[in-house]
């Protein structure tokens, strides 16, 4: 699978009619046409395409990701620089949205028709319908421009040394991503909790007189976790791919903006490595989903008690 994807990515990126040399150096900015030919030779672009693919594959396997055409930097260096930005953004949002969704979902399920239930229903319905970058734009407009409480973007500004210096920069992007993720998650947890509540073992526990909070915590909560974990596993690729739209809105120097910059500059070595990476994580995530499913599948685990 990984092999097929690598081949697809490589040849697909070569299918495009763009000449990377010309994309880098427009002819009216070239010092000499001989220099361009030399550059083409040095970058191995004159080799046979199969040879180029094999070389690329070999290099990737040995951890040599090559160089960006645009900045000349090692791609591994770019990834090392950009990955933390994306990771801290997505991971924080992932954790926050999960905690919020689980809390809300649990209370919503526990008391159908209560405040938490109403809130989570509204969030689940409305949140899904709103594009995530619109949430970002709206937050920007209000909190960064109207009242100027929060910075409008950038991860680290000059003079920001400690984490607390940088903290304000994270609020808007993290909030945007959290809200965007929350909607689906909340809908999901609520359904999952409701579903668990209808199960026999919960009814049994209740009839046995187990305190309500214990029913909620040790029975409902744990058993509702399964589907939520599946959903989270599906979100894993975001960790490397970043959210392109949210990163664009906030000028976040992460993988998402790197992809867009590489794409507009036809920086195909970067495009290939990043796509490869995302593909690998997606593969890993679906593998993880299978495992989580088999561990948490109630039919497997609760077969005896039913």
């Amino acid at each position: 699978m990984a092999f097929t994807i690598s081949a697809l990515i490589f040849f697909a990126s070569r299918l495009s009619p763009i000449d990377p040399i010309l994309a880098m150096i427009p002819p009216d900015m070239a010092s000499d046409s001989a220099n361009l030919e030399q550059l083409r030779e040095e970058l191995g672009l004159n080799d046979h395409i199969i040879l180029q693919y094999l070389t690329w594959l070999k290099n990737i396997a040995t951890g040599d990701f090559g160089y960006s055409l645009q900045s000349g930097q090692q791609i591994s260096e770019i990834l090392a620089l950009r990955m933390p930005a994306t990771l801290e953004l997505v991971l924080t949002a992932l954790i926050l949205s999960t905690i919020l969704a689980l809390t809300l979902g649990l209370f919503a399920g526990a008391k159908k028709g209560g405040i938490a239930d109403k809130l989570s229903r509204v969030l689940g319905v409305v949140g899904i319908a709103i594009p995530d970058f619109f949430i970002g734009l709206a937050l920007l407009n209000v909190f960064a421009y109207r009242v100027s409480w929060l910075p409008s973007g950038n991860r680290v500004a000059p003079g920001q040394i400690t984490f607390w210096d940088r903290f304000p920069n994270y609020i808007l992007p993290v909030a945007t991503l959290t809200i965007a993720m929350l909607a689906v998650l909340i809908r999901y947890t609520r359904n999952s909790v409701l579903d668990t509540l209808n199960r026999d073992f919960v009814k049994t526990a209740r009839s046995k007189g187990v305190p309500e909070w214990r029913v909620l915590y040790s029975h409902v909560f744990r058993n509702s976790l399964g589907p939520v974990m599946v959903l989270l596993a599906f979100r894993l690729p975001l960790l490397v791919g970043g959210s392109i739209l949210v990163e664009t809105v906030f000028q976040w120097p992460g993988i998402g903006t790197t992809i867009i910059a590489a794409v507009t500059a036809s920086d195909y070595p970067v495009i290939m490595v990043v796509s490869m990476l995302i593909a690998m994580v997606i593969l890993f995530a679906s593998f993880l989903v299978d495992i989580v499913k088999s561990i948490l599948d109630p039919r497997v685990r609760l077969g005896g008690s039913n």
Binding site: I5, L140, Y145, L194, F234, R235, I271, I282, A285
Partner: protein, 308 residues
């Protein structure tokens, strides 16, 4: 034969009656119909062509003359938002239809025949799911050029997997049912069994997937256009109108240029989701476990997540 027709008619009647008694479906259908009507009669409602340029009256905030204000060229935003709906809804509906068509056909074939064919199609679907979508879109755009139909093709080719898995799963369970066994005994051809006899029994999840996909594709169109990779800018779509918000000054000072298109997307998608929920309730009276029901949605959500 006649009896069958009668049966179908009454099923349809029951279906429509149930649908009209489902509050969520009714609200959704109302929203959708009003918005579609508004976009069809965009020019009549706003009184101006969406392309009409009037630079002197540019950058005006909402007023009685221009309910949604005007853009930098003095074009009426109301007219643009309403007619933008036409293209956005068109993209969503057609792309969703095509994606579902591909998914259904492949799912039916793979699910019924199983074996090697199933394994191959399954592999392909995994491949498409794994392949980073943005890269796929870019390749298509660079090969086919930018255009509204190319966006539709890209969505159809990258969005069929959920329906595929759904239909395939249904076929797996249905192909062992007694009526299929009977069909085989009668010696009916495979296409006839697949498409005439089993397929109608899998329609409900397909219809639900169709509506949900419309919502997903409308949002995806907006995202693509926002990045400048979607429908050509001369065609107003909700996504193209949002391009204005790439400029932070517009986000700050000319809020009406991006809030109205974004709200239109949100409201329409809301409507579609309501209909989807309603349809699910009506078409799925068996009330399967909620989890099992939304299993296919996990996959859907996974796709959505990786798209971002």
């Amino acid at each position: 034969m006649q009896k069958k027709k009668l049966d179908q008619q009454s099923t349809a009647k029951i279906f429509i009656r149930n649908l009209l008694h489902n509050p969520s479906a009714v609200i959704g259908l109302t929203i959708i119909s009003i918005m579609i009507l508004c976009s069809v009669f965009a020019v009549q409602i706003s009184g101006v062509e969406p392309e009409y340029i009037d630079p002197i009256n540019g950058r005006l905030g909402p007023s009685l003359d221009h309910l949604m204000g005007t853009d930098q060229l003095g074009r009426d935003m109301l007219s643009r938002v309403l007619s933008g709906g036409r293209q956005s809804i068109y993209v969503g509906v057609i792309a969703s239809f095509l994606a579902n068509l591909i998914g259904t056909i492949l799912g039916a074939i793979a699910g019924y025949l199983g074996g090697k064919i199933d394994a191959v199609v399954m592999r392909v679907s995994e491949l498409v799911m794994t392949f980073p979508q943005l890269i796929l879109v870019l390749i298509f755009v660079s090969l086919l050029g930018q255009g509204i139909n190319n966006v539709i093709i890209v969505f159809a080719l990258t969005g069929w997997m959920t329906t595929f898995r759904l239909v395939r799963g249904e076929f797996f369970s249905l192909r062992e049912e007694a009526f299929v066994e009977a069909d085989r005994a009668f010696g009916f051809s495979k296409p006839r069994i697949i498409f005439r006899h089993i397929l109608p029994n899998t329609l409900s999840p397909i219809v639900v997937a169709f509506t949900i996909n419309i919502a997903i594709f409308i949002i995806a169109e907006a995202g693509l256009s926002f990045l400048g990779l979607g429908v050509p800018v001369t065609t107003p779509t909700w996504g193209n109108l949002l391009i204005a918000a790439q400029n932070p000054v517009v986000v700050d000072e000319y809020w009406w240029l991006w809030v109205f298109p974004a709200m239109s997307i949100a409201i329409f998608v809301l409507g579609v989701n309501f209909v989807g929920d309603g349809l699910r309730d009506v078409l799925d009276p068996r009330h399967k476990s909620l989890i099992a029901k939304s299993k296919w949605k996990v996959a859907l959500v996974g796709r959505l997540g990786s798209k971002k």
